[in-house]
């Protein structure tokens, strides 16, 4: 039994009880009447009183009853509640896992119908919300429990801020939509913790004098938060969660486990397509499968191209074993490779026949049984070397296996450009030359450029200080795709070129000499160019192996979307992440077609063509459509340019569906709380008021009958 508003009731009692007693002694105002004699009346009253037993008591009985009524009303005013949820005024953070694993249909195995874990989690969360201490009637909501609802998969979303409005909370919980993303609690946890102020420490030191207050990120002060996690516990990053000390009446972190610990799932964990480097028409599709079934089983993997099954392979999976030491289940994995000849861009699908929903094989999650890949058409880069006659570059490029290499002079380039044929070339390599500025002042047409021995100094370009002394490359970006495979330590430059990147420029220096930037990347909208400022002819670089590797990487990196695996799989996204890409700068009316066929609202591209959509929640094929020019691998259909993306779960831990019985937090292990037993708050005040009315009616009856007492 707790009291919501005891102070209020106390105040009212202090006023009302003496008032009632005083009023009782003042009694009611009687109408004065003059009578011939009060003799007989007095006798009559005396007789009645003399006849009444407990005369004095009778006189006080009404007062006694009135005090009972008043007492009941005062008790009602204090709003007593009986509940197990201890003190009111708590702040609850309800974390609801909406990740792919919550789609498993073993939510409640006691029920015959298939019900997903998320539905069960929502039901339980609503039960928790209903049991919250409601805002009391007469005081502000300070004493009421407040709850915040956060739904999370890989990303987190606050679906309801802290509120004590149960209807709002329940609506918010009901509004949580299942996603196909993997689960990660980190963002949700940070979102919740960001609402709390940091705890401030004041180090008093040995002298006992306070110094400046110190805030430590991660150690939170303010009201205690009570976390309630509704999940199956398949969360990979639980170690970011640090539970507070439990309060005496409630644990600070409660884990409401949903789902069956023994749930079995077979799912895709990897999907990958590669084209052969030598023969890009050869396409290999790699499929990784895992099983948590303790029994060995064989799964049929179907390969679909354009929606039609073209191949079926059987995958044999051993039974999942349990690690004797840790007691944890080790999933069994298997894989299969499909090989096919497919020069065109296709949508490749892989489907596992696991008998989903079939009682005997008990695969409770269907989301991870299929996956899609967007495979662009086979293509090799076409490269044009614009040179006045350089031995090194021409020889080096010819040595690379580039199917289509043209060697042209700058004059021929300008002719191509004027004729509009330049778009057919993926990469122009300028050898100590630069494109001429067109009439509009545009130097670079949309496209990719590798410029060796010269720098762009036009608008947004470099500041050229002319030739510099001999030097060496002292630093370069080792993580950049262009430079990550090579070492430039040995390069000695005989005649450098001193250039400077102006402040606020989008130019990026990739390698630097003692004199300044040596290799610069320019990336503006449709143009991507890499400039080597110094002339390799005045260095020992052409004789170093890194020169050839650099050129190969440049062709790879700049000669965009060519037949390497990087781009084949770039069109894969994972639910929970955003769909981010670039579209041509003239693209308009950009929309995303979702797997269910609906279209998103229009997306406004950034000036450099960058678009962001999401985070996406469902698996399937997403298509970005726009009007305008097409990228290299884009499909044109009915005046629209379409670029496909495939969203697949492909997450091993997420596909491992057995609900966790306990959570390993960073500072302790939290066991699942007893299932669904959340006590409801019971308000007593209506009953007290009813009691008061009953006593009042009894008193009225006595009052009318009082002469018989």
């Amino acid at each position: 039994m707790i009291w919501a508003t005891p102070i209020l009731a106390g105040f009212v009692a202090a006023i009302a009880v003496p008032s009632l007693v005083i009023l009782y002694f003042l009694k009611l105002r009687r109408i004065p009447r003059e009578v011939s004699s009060t003799l007989l009346w007095k006798k009559a009253i005396q007789d009645l009183q003399a006849n009444a037993p407990f005369q004095k008591l009778r006189r006080n009985l009404l007062l006694f009853l009135q005090l009972i009524i008043l007492g009941l009303i005062l008790l009602a005013l204090a709003q007593p509640r009986s509940t197990a949820t201890a003190s009111a005024g708590r702040k609850l953070v309800i974390l609801i896992d909406r990740s792919a694993s919550m789609r498993a249909v073993d939510g409640d195995i006691s029920r015959s119908s298939e019900i997903t874990r998320l539905e069960v989690a929502k039901e339980r969360a609503i039960g928790l919300v209903e049991g919250l201490a409601a805002p009391s009637l007469f005081e502000d909501s300070e004493k009421a429990d407040e709850a915040m609802v956060i739904a999370f998969d890989r990303s987190a979303q606050i679906v309801s801020q802290f509120t004590s409005d149960k209807t709002a909370l329940i609506t918010a919980i009901n509004g949580i939509v299942q996603t196909d993303g993997p689960s990660s609690i980190e963002e949700a946890y940070r979102l919740a913790q960001s609402q709390r102020p940091n705890r401030i420490f004041i180090d008093t030191g040995s002298s006992g004098e306070g110094t400046d207050p110190v805030e430590i990120e991660g150690i939170k002060g303010g009201d205690a938060y009570f976390f309630h996690l509704f999940s199956d516990g398949r969360i990979s990053d639980l170690d970011v969660v640090r539970a507070d000390e439990d309060t005496p009446d409630a644990p600070s972190f409660e884990y409401h486990a949903v789902g069956d610990a023994g749930a079995v799932s077979v799912g895709l964990t990897a999907l990958r397509a590669e084209r052969d480097y030598e023969d890009p028409t050869k396409l290999s599709v790699f499929v990784g499968v895992q099983s948590t079934d303790p029994l060995a089983r064989s799964v049929d993997a179907e390969l679909l191209v354009g929606g039609a099954v073209v191949s079926v392979r059987s995958v044999v999976l051993a039974g999942a074993e349990v690690d004797v030491q840790t007691g944890k289940k080790k999933v069994s994995t298997g894989g299969v490779v499909f090989e096919l000849n497919e020069p065109n861009g296709v949508v490749v699908g892989v489907r596992l026949s696991t008998g989903f929903g079939n009682e005997s094989s008990m695969d409770v999650l269907g989301t991870d049984n299929s996956g899609t890949l967007i495979v662009p058409p086979a293509k090799q880069a076409s490269v044009a070397l614009v040179t006045t006659g350089s031995l090194f570059l021409k020889e080096a490029l010819t040595g690379l296996s580039i199917s289509d290499l043209k060697v042209i002079t700058p004059g021929e380039y300008e002719e191509m450009r004027d004729a509009g044929e330049a778009g057919a070339i993926d990469l122009f390599v300028f050898d100590r030359a630069m494109p001429r500025a067109s009439e509009g002042g545009v130097v670079f047409d949309p496209g990719r450029y590798l410029i060796v021995g010269d720098v762009y100094t036009g608008p947004g370009g470099m500041i050229d200080h002319g030739d510099g002394p001999g030097t060496q490359i002292i630093n370069w970006r080792r993580v950049h795709p262009l430079l990550r495979d090579l070492t430039l330590d040995a390069v000695v430059i005989g005649k450098s070129r001193t250039v400077e990147i102006p402040d606020g420029s989008e130019l990026v220096s990739l390698a630097e000499t003692t004199e300044g930037p040596a290799i610069i990347e320019m990336s503006t909208g449709d143009v991507r160019a890499v400039m080597v400022a110094f002339d390799p002819a005045f260095s020992n670089w052409p004789f170093d192996v890194s020169f050839v590797v650099f050129l190969a990487s440049a062709v790879d990196y700049l000669g965009t979307q060519v037949g390497t695996d990087v781009d084949v799989n770039a069109r894969q996204i994972t639910p929970g992440f955003v769909l981010a890409d670039r579209v041509p700068s003239d693209a308009g009316n950009i929309r995303v077609r979702l797997p269910d066929g609906s279209m998103s609202s229009e997306i406004i591209a950034a000036p450099d063509g960058r678009i962001v959509y999401g985070p996406i929640h469902k698996t399937g094929v997403y298509s970005v459509q726009w009007t305008g020019s097409a990228g290299v691998s884009d499909v044109e259909d009915d005046g629209k340019i379409i670029r496909h993306y495939a969203a697949n779960l492909l997450d091993g831990p997420e596909s491992d569906l057995g609900a966790a019985a306990s959570l390993d937090l960073s500072n302790r292990v939290v066991s699942a709380s007893s299932k669904g037993e959340i006590t409801r708050l019971k308000e007593w005040w209506p009953w007290l008021l009813l009691g008061a009315i009953a006593v009042m009616m009894f008193e009225w009856w006595i009052y009318n009958k009082k002469v018989y007492l």
């Binding site: 004065p32 009447r33 003059e34 009578v35 004699s37 009060t38 009346w41 018989y708």
Partner: protein, 315 residues
Amino acid sequence: MLRSENPTRPATIDELLSSELIGKISHLDVSSRKIFAGKLKGERRSKKRGESVEFADHRPYTTGDDLRHIDWNIYARLDRFFMKLFMEEEDLSLHIVIDASASSDCGEPNKFLYMQQVAMSLGYIGLLNLNRVAVTAVGLRDELVIPGGEQSIAGTVRDLRGRRRTHDLARFLCSMTPEGGSDFSQACKRIAMSRRGKGVMIVLSDFFMKEGYETGLRMLAGRGYDVFAIQVLSPQEVEPDISGDLQLRDIEDGDMAEVTISAPLLKKYKENLSAYCQELRDFCARREITGLTIQTDTPIDTLLVEYLRKRGLLR
């Protein structure tokens, strides 16, 4: 029961005694069960023979005696004053005591008016039959109405005889107003001390006296008087028509009684009232007083012609 809001105050004899009533009561006469003394001029036959002689005795004169009664013949002979004492007149005295306290000014019809009318009627009968009629109004008055009177007597008129005095009687009755309290015992003591002769005494009152009526009535009874106690009650006193939470104030002494009218209370009240009246009648019976309770809605002629005749006051 409640004080009359606009009580009728009779101003003339006609309001006290209607001609219709005169016709009904003219044939009546006052009688007494006890007193058989003759009356003046042989109107009433006396049992005491030879006592109708006027002269009775002599006694020496003392200061203050009526000079008219000095026996001048003896003075001539003896040169001393002697008083001639005459026999007490044998006529029947009719003494009407009327309660003129505030409590009489209640009820509908008004109790005091009713008492005035009864007193007038009886007095008229007495005067008509040459009885000696006296009326005493009982009630505490601050100012002394009669010289040498007590505060407990509001007014008195006596020795009225003959039809000519009817208007004197009426004038006296009209001059009385019910007000103040009463000291019934004290008043009765006065009355008993001052009365003369023998006859009939009629006490008209509601007998609601906190100090009790017993002492007073005891004094009035005996000494040759045939006492009639007529308790006059208003219909409202018998059947109270009040309700609610009331603060009842005694009209005489201002005593308060807080009551909440309920059926049991009214029942108890009525029980008490009938017991009180019965007690009064029982008391009267023991003292050879004729007790009678009358409601003011009873016509005067019914009271006179039926009730009082039945009880032998009138014949």
